[in-house]
């Protein structure tokens, strides 16, 4: 029996099948190849890929685990395919969103026109946890605030794409996108030949170009770019060292940097060396104990002062967190209209704000149908999936919402699209999302594809790696089949 013979698409939007046994045209070639694989061969390649990930240390650290166990991010060998027409829409939509978000950030930290013209209510923006008054009036190089963005997208029952959130602080996961492709090419070289898959490996070069582009003029030839990591115990440390290696730049920890005369230097065996751009993978809160959290030992005292003086550039800029606040998210379509006078290409998921009395009333009386999220959390923490919740959990959330309405939003539970994924020896439908990575420098570019995350637990809607999610290689085709 071939691998996909018994596959049931179920009552969902299935990425691969229109109906049982009926494959979408852009999956036809892949389907045929997979049907010709026998199970033993497939299992062999699967374990070879897992072993390779472990050997290379492509792992993340689980925080809740006291021993700091390193785990591999489960990788599903069945790729997700996006045809060119769909991708063009996603790309245009995300570029539009990115332009608006950067204009919004500039506006908020300078004139606040969007507030004055009452498009976005002042109290929602200025009370956001990640709003940084320290940044008001501080010019940032080339007016770019978000240089690297990882927007999460999902599809509903009809297959329509929605933007679920914009991760404009320190989005992670791009190394898995790149490593998944490498693993896939090694496991199934013959799949790629005729499929017409667009390459992804120029990402790190594009990123480096941007980091050099935003460097302050220094009178030296090439700018010195470093990646600032919280250290090897951070769950994304593999990614930090991966990116630094690919770009050929130094990876530094807070203790390696020192500020003198509002300039940032790294400590080397030959003395101090000036740094021009810092790709920081450290949240605002930890950047500088003199300005933000006093107890941060990960940051660099004096860094913010050097940044404000224009002697060092940061990617992303400080204060971008307001753009991925889940309350502010609701207003992104309005921003697009306001700044660009364009209609949004990609839709938002309908969002109810607990801070609005009417909407709050709706939320607390419909918890069973909604997904409730804390406005500032990420990684799948602090959320309630209504249909899968218990009465106790709902009561708990109701209390939290009433106590601190500004901190909660709710969205209808989407019937997320599913994709055939290999679970317990069979292909079964599992929910997926898509995180494309947007780079913003001289122009805005998106590496074709993104990280497809898959909720490997049966019925689960949560795709985060910390919550039992896995990932797939994502193919964007040159054509539509």
């Amino acid at each position: 029996m071939a691998l996909l013979d018994k596959y049931q698409p179920g009552d969902f939007f299935d990425e691969m099948f229109v109906a049982e046994g009926k494959v979408r045209p852009h999956y036809a070639a892949l389907f045929e190849r997979f049907q010709n694989l026998d199970r033993e061969e497939f299992d062999q390649r699967r374990s070879a890929v897992d072993a390779a990930f472990l050997r290379q240390g492509i792992t993340f650290t689980v925080y809740s685990d006291e021993q700091g166990t390193e785990r591999i991010f489960p990788f599903d060998l069945m790729p997700r395919i996006i045809p060119a027409t769909e991708w063009n829409l996603i790309e245009a939509g995300l570029i539009q969103r990115m332009r608006a978000l950067n204009m919004f950030l500039k506006d908020i930290y300078t004139d606040q026109r969007i507030i004055k013209e009452k498009v976005v209510p002042a109290e929602e923006v200025l009370t956001a946890k990640h709003y940084r008054p320290e940044m008001v009036g501080v010019p940032v190089p080339k007016d770019i605030y978000i240089h690297i963005c990882g927007s999460d997208m999902v599809r509903d029952r009809e297959g329509t794409y929605f933007v679920l959130e914009d991760n404009g602080r320190c989005p992670s996961g791009v190394s898995y996108l790149l490593e998944n492709r490498v693993a896939m090419k090694r496991a199934f070289p013959h799949l790629f030949g005729s499929a017409g898959v667009r390459p992804v490996d120029h990402y790190t070069q594009d990123l480096l170009t941007i980091l050099q582009y935003i460097a302050p003029p220094n009178g030296r030839s090439t700018p010195t770019v470093v990646l600032l990591t919280p250290g090897i115990y951070n769950s994304a440390y593999f990614e930090h060292s991966f990116l630094a290696r690919q770009m050929g730049i130094q990876i530094v920890e807070g203790q390696d940097l020192v500020v003198q005369d509002k300039k940032v230097y790294m400590r080397t065996t030959k003395g101090l060396e000036q740094v021009d751009t810092i790709y920081r993978r450290l949240d605002d809160d930890f950047l500088d104990p003199k300005v933000f959290r006093k107890d941060s030992i990960l940051g660099v005292p004096g860094l913010v002062e050097a940044y404000r003086a224009g002697n060092v550039s940061l990617a992303n800029a400080i204060g971008t967190g307001i753009a991925d606040d889940k309350v502010v998210y609701k207003f992104v379509p309005d921003m697009i209209k306001f700044y660009l006078s364009e209609e949004p290409i990609l839709a938002n998921v309908p969002t109810y704000l607990a801070s609005d009395p009417k909407e709050r009333e709706y939320i607390v009386t419909h918890l069973e149908q909604l997904v409730v999220k804390a406005a500032n959390e990420s990684g799948g923490y602090g959320m309630l999936v209504g249909p899968a919740s218990t009465a106790t959990q709902r009561a708990e959330f109701k209390e939290k919402i009433l106590e601190n309405p500004r901190n909660y939003i709710a969205q209808p539970t989407l019937n997320l699209s599913r994709h055939p994924s290999y679970c317990d020896g069979n292909f079964e439908g599992r929910h997926v999302d898509l995180r494309p990575y947007i780079l913003c420098g001289e122009k805005i570019s998106i590496v074709p594809g993104g990280l497809t995350r898959v909720a490997l637990r049966k019925g689960s809607l949560v795709v985060n790696s910390s919550q039992g999610g896995g990932s797939k290689d994502t193919w964007v085709l040159y054509g539509d089949s």
Binding site: G57, I232, S241, Q250, Q260, T268, T269
Partner: protein, 347 residues
């Protein structure tokens, strides 16, 4: 290069070398016991004493075990989680340091040390005994050789590589002094006629601990004699585990790092290393005998420790720019193995 990176490379290299040396010492002692005729339990246990002395863990050991039996010593030096010098902890520390700098070292180096670490994590005493300790220790030694070979063959031989050499040769020289020092009794007590064979076996075992048995034979074309063993392991110019050879290589690496030419120095580490090399170059067996083996080894250990400390102060340690001078370090006792400081390990 970043001081922290140099620090990690240095300790990565030291701990990888240490794991190999401990495996070798244990392996040789186990084999030696097979060769010695009918040992009582007490005699057997007594043979482990020098091993514990050479790794410098004697006191620590007695905190965890009552009896100095083979199983206990093997357990303590291979798998014990509380012993920072157990093979598993050496490999874990080496790998943690490699993880700190994995974008600086070659991909092949990282994969090899990670592979060794994963393999080591899967070991238990039962497994080691079942498959035969010899197989296990050989695997540890081979992993170290492979790692060092990969390092030489895949990494640019620049400043970073030189810091790896510094760690390797300091550790190796240190371990050779410890092996000789721990066994100094058998050099002093010349064996009575009837135990002549057992003496030869022990000297041979010492040579094997330093992988130098064949090299010794080739060099002297003679019986294994204690004087010659001492001379070979301390003063031989070309054998890669002799103290003199290690000191020379250390000297070359330090000079490549600073760019300072021979016969000059720009920092304390270079000065001390230069002195040590000169001393070893112009020493003969008689000089060692005049001072006495134990004292001579102690002095060299103190010198090696001072060199390690001087390198740390010059290259690896970055004091806060505004803070006052750091407190002087406590005098390091020669018996204690140099360990990676907490400040650098957990930063």
């Amino acid at each position: 290069m970043l001081s922290r990176v140099a620090d990690s490379l240095y300790w990565m290299s030291r701990y990888a070398e240490r794991a190999e040396n401990i495996a070798r010492i244990l392996d040789v002692n186990l084999q030696l016991m097979l060769d010695l005729p009918k040992l009582s339990e007490e005699e057997q246990n007594a043979l482990w004493e020098p091993v514990l002395r050479s790794t410098g863990d004697h006191e620590d050991f007695s905190k965890h075990y009552k009896e100095t039996s083979s199983d206990n010593v093997i357990d303590f030096l291979t798998l014990h989680p509380k012993n920072s010098n157990s093979i598993i902890n050496c490999i874990t520390t080496a790998r943690e340091n490699a993880r700190h700098v994995r974008e600086q070292i070659s991909l092949e180096m990282w994969e090899e040390i990670n592979r060794t670490y994963l393999w080591m994590k899967s070991q238990t005493l039962k497994k080691i005994v079942r498959q035969g300790p010899y197989e296990f220790f050989t695997a540890v030694k081979n992993a170290s050789h492979l790692f060092q070979g990969i390092t030489d063959g895949t990494m640019t031989h620049g400043e970073d590589w030189d810091f790896i050499q510094v760690g390797k040769y300091l550790e190796r020289a240190d371990m050779t002094t410890r092996i000789l020092d721990a066994n100094d009794e058998i050099f002093i007590k010349r064996p009575a006629n009837n135990s002549h064979t057992s003496g030869t076996l022990q000297w041979s075992a010492i040579l094997r601990s330093c992988s130098s048995h064949d090299a010794y034979r080739k060099f002297y074309v003679a019986q294994v004699e204690p004087d010659k063993v001492v001379e070979f392991l301390i003063l031989n110019e070309f054998f890669p585990r002799s103290i003199r050879y290690c000191a020379q290589e250390l000297n070359y690496s330090l000079r490549r790092i600073s760019g300072c030419k021979d016969e000059h120095f720009t920092n304390l580490g270079e000065k001390l290393t230069g002195c040590l090399v000169a001393e070893l170059n112009y020493s003969a067996l008689e000089d060692i005998k005049t001072v006495g083996m134990h004292k001579y080894m102690d002095e060299i250990q103190i010198k090696l420790n001072s060199i390690g400390e001087a390198i740390f102060q010059t290259y690896l340690f970055s004091p806060p720019l505004t803070a006052p001078e750091p407190e002087p370090e406590e005098e390091t006792t020669p018996k204690q193995t140099q360990k990676q400081g907490k400040a650098t390990a957990n930063a």
